[in-house]
């Protein structure tokens, strides 16, 4: 027995030290070795911000700095991950893009982001459209968590070839003249539907895109007032946008698609719809979906109702970043006039810097894919007439609830009244 007793003892010691060693190893899995002056800045964005050339420039101006960008394709997934990492207080990177719809959400925890006002943003705020700067500033005005990149000035993209088949004018000036208001847009749709005579081709892609465009034109606020009270039921702008959209659905001119779904994406190529609400960044998206073969099929006219905004982003520095000073410098660099211009030339994202709207590089920009449409002029016109719209912290879940209800009306599952009641009820639940 004696020898037997010895072995387990040694074994115990051995295993004990192994377990300890394992824990110790796990504990010190820290940063990889970096030189004293070297640093890696991690930038997280969604989609394509068109910053490659700017990164090269910044790395050249700041020796020892290396920039690594991670781009997530899906905005929903990006928002979820960013929320998780900000809430957890680590892993968010040094510089992050925040989309317009999410910025109010992150303003709730403004302390988790660097306040750009402490780094001189107030002194140069005329660099951005006033409302753009306000959107990323807390309601007491004390903290600004993001610097504006682009805005989604709104236009209307249309299929030139399908318009021709339906016997409608195809010239962008004439097309714009067809629909000064949304009622005119619906009337044009009915004319189109009659002319095209094919029930596989519809005038509009989806009720939700028309609805959101109208809603974002209605100024001030939508589902939440500026004190963050849910006002879906009392704000006439919401119900008006709803009713007008239902009129469109009743006219039978909607392809009833869900935006960003496979079918919707395929529709750009297959021609299942002839018009789509078109913020500046959408031009790149259409080109990608419709492919080279679709060049010249699409053109751009002005949006009914005059102007509007869909999307646009900010750059923010999480306080969990270990290289805050350099990240702040990069944020200013990317959102500067030169930075925004570079991104615009690269991927077509419309600058949020109003001084650029007079710049010939923006104003005179044309897009070959869209029959050389003067995109600079069209989108600048849409952006300049914008009114700032306040979106509440719970805007996204409420918007999701209303869009679901609207789609169920569109698909014929519910009447407009039932759908509206569902929208209000679900919105109240979602607002918590």
């Amino acid at each position: 027995m004696k020898t037997h007793l010895h072995r387990p003892r040694r074994l115990v010691a051995l295993i004990g030290s192994l377990v300890l060693a394992g824990t110790a190893l796990a504990a010190c899995g820290g940063d990889d070795a970096e030189g004293a002056d070297d640093m890696t800045l991690r930038v997280n964005v969604f989609g394509n911000f068109g910053y490659e050339a700017l990164y090269d420039q910044f790395e050249k101006d700041n020796p020892g700095v290396k920039i690594v960008e991670t781009a997530e394709g899906d905005l929903g997934a990006y928002n979820t991950q960013l929320t998780q990492k900000i809430a957890a207080g680590s892993g968010a990177g040094d510089l992050v893009a925040i989309e317009e719809g999410q910025v109010v959400n992150f303003l709730q925890s403004a302390d988790k982001f660097v306040n750009f006002q402490d780094h001189g943003s107030n002194d140069q705020k005329d660099q951005w459209l006033d409302w753009k700067y306000q959107q990323a500033t807390t309601s007491d005005g004390a903290s600004t968590i993001g610097l504006g990149t682009d805005v989604g000035g709104l236009a209307m993209c249309y299929r030139k070839d399908l318009f021709e088949q339906a016997g409608l004018p195809t010239d962008r000036e004439e097309v714009s003249a067809l629909w000064p208001t949304w009622d005119d847009y619906i009337a044009t749709g009915e004319q189109f539907q009659e002319g095209i005579g094919d029930d596989k081709i519809h005038f509009t892609d989806a009720a939700t895109n028309m609805y959101n465009s109208i809603l974002m034109q209605s100024g001030d606020y939508t589902y939440f007032d500026t004190d963050d009270n849910l006002v879906i039921d009392s704000n006439p702008a919401v119900k008006d946008a709803w009713d007008q959209t239902v009129d469109m659905v009743d006219a039978g001119i909607s392809a009833k698609l869900q935006s960003f779904s496979n079918e919707w994406n395929a529709g750009f190529k297959n021609g299942s719809f002839a018009t789509v609400a078109c913020p500046a960044w959408m031009t790149g998206y259409i080109e990608e979906q419709a492919g080279e073969g679709g060049a010249g099929n699409w053109d751009i006219a002005s949006v009914p109702g005059g102007g509007g905004n869909w999307g646009g982003s900010f750059m923010a520095v999480p306080t969990s970043s270990e290289h805050q000073d350099m990240a702040i410098k990069l944020a200013y660099f990317l959102t500067s006039a030169d930075g925004q211009l570079s991104a615009f030339e690269n991927v077509g994202n419309l600058p949020s810097n109003p001084t650029l709207y007079e710049d010939p590089a923006v104003k005179d920009k044309t897009n070959e894919y869209f029959n050389a449409a003067p995109t600079g002029q069209i989108f600048v016109a849409g952006a300049s007439s914008l009114e700032p719209v306040y979106l509440g912290a719970k805007n996204q879940p409420v918007r999701d609830a209303v869009e679901n209800a609207l789609r169920s009306v569109e698909s014929g599952d519910k009447s407009s009244d039932d759908g509206w009641n569902t929208a209000v009820k679900d919105a109240e639940a979602a607002a918590g």
Partner: protein
């Protein structure tokens, strides 16, 4: 009706010395340490969170059991529960029957036996995201293969996502595609462990093929059936990826316009990361544990009848 079990022989004093015990504990400790960190702690922490009104980015406050009472009156929760159970039954019952039939086929002498046996596992090792995307394309409204085929027998294009029954069916097909082969292989292993002399004896007694299957195969497979059903139950109630990918486009997590195919995990995820209601989402997680335990219990009760039926 055999209730005797082999008696466990206990030897007095075989527990060993303290040192030996310590050695034993340290051998098994890695699992328990890891489980405590990655299993037990999150479970308890989730319960703690579920007692709060806990906004992911904003404030948090203690609310006791208020989340649980709210959940009982939450229509969305009940819809999700019915969807989850509905898809679970619609997917699992045919799946296990098909798996059993497939196992029977694979248990015969066939040409290229290994090929077939490996083949049934292929869908399972395919990435679930790929399966989701392909099937969503197959079930697409305007350009989908399924609607195209149905068109030949005069069926109008079906909007598979739009209706409850059609979305459940399509999702069940996805689940079955992935898991039938896997379960078939487990059944196959069990089938091969059934002693041949039992079948010989049954044939001598004049039992038909069906009678042999019912009275010999099924009772011998009982532990396997229990295992497979339990695993399918846990997987089925946690169903997430297939219905999520089935709804391509914006707001996919809501599982359709009227939430007609939103499962419990999707609802949980929506509440946590879109609605930012971390406390409420944790409550859903805890209620899901109860649901799984309940369904597993019902399964166990039903499966006990297999034995008593003999």
């Amino acid at each position: 009706m055999d209730h005797t079990r082999p008696a466990v022989r206990r030897v007095r004093g075989s527990r060993g010395s303290t040192a030996e015990q310590l050695a034993g504990y340290s051998f098994i400790s890695p699992f328990f340490i890891l489980f405590a960190i990655f299993g037990l702690f999150p479970i308890l922490f989730t319960f703690w969170v579920s007692l709060h009104d806990w906004s992911l980015l904003g404030d948090r406050s203690w609310t006791g059991l208020a989340n649980y009472t709210e959940l009982v009156g939450d229509e969305r929760f009940w819809t999700a529960l019915v969807n989850t159970l509905g898809i679970f039954v619609l997917a699992t019952v045919p799946q296990l029957l098909m798996a059993l039939a497939l196992a029977q086929l694979l248990n015969r002498r066939l040409r290229g036996l290994t090929f077939w046996r490996m083949g049934v596992l292929l869908p399972n090792i395919t990435s679930v995201a790929a399966v989701g995307i392909i099937f969503t394309l197959l079930f697409a409204r305007d350009f989908g293969l399924v609607n195209w085929l149905l068109g030949f027998v005069g069926v109008e294009n079906i909007d598979w996502q739009a209706h409850r029954w059609s979305s459940w069916l399509a999702i069940s097909v996805m689940v079955d595609w992935r898991w039938t082969g896997y379960n078939a292989l487990i059944f196959l292993a069990a089938l091969q462990a059934v002693p041949k002399d039992l079948y010989e004896a049954a044939s001598i007694d004049g039992a038909s093929q069906f009678r042999q299957f019912w009275s010999v195969t099924i009772p011998m497979l009982r532990p396997t059936i229990i295992f497979v059903t339990l695993i399918s139950t846990i997987g089925g109630i946690q169903l997430f990826t297939e219905p999520l990918l089935f709804n391509s486009g914006t707001n996919a997590i809501s599982g359709g316009n009227t939430h007609q195919f939103q499962t419990l995990t999707m609802y949980l995820y929506e509440k946590a990361f879109v609605g930012q209601e971390f406390g409420y989402a944790s409550t859903i997680a805890w209620v899901m544990v109860l649901v799984i335990a309940l369904v597993a219990g019902i399964n166990a009760l039903m499966l006990r009848r297999i034995r008593t039926a003999v």
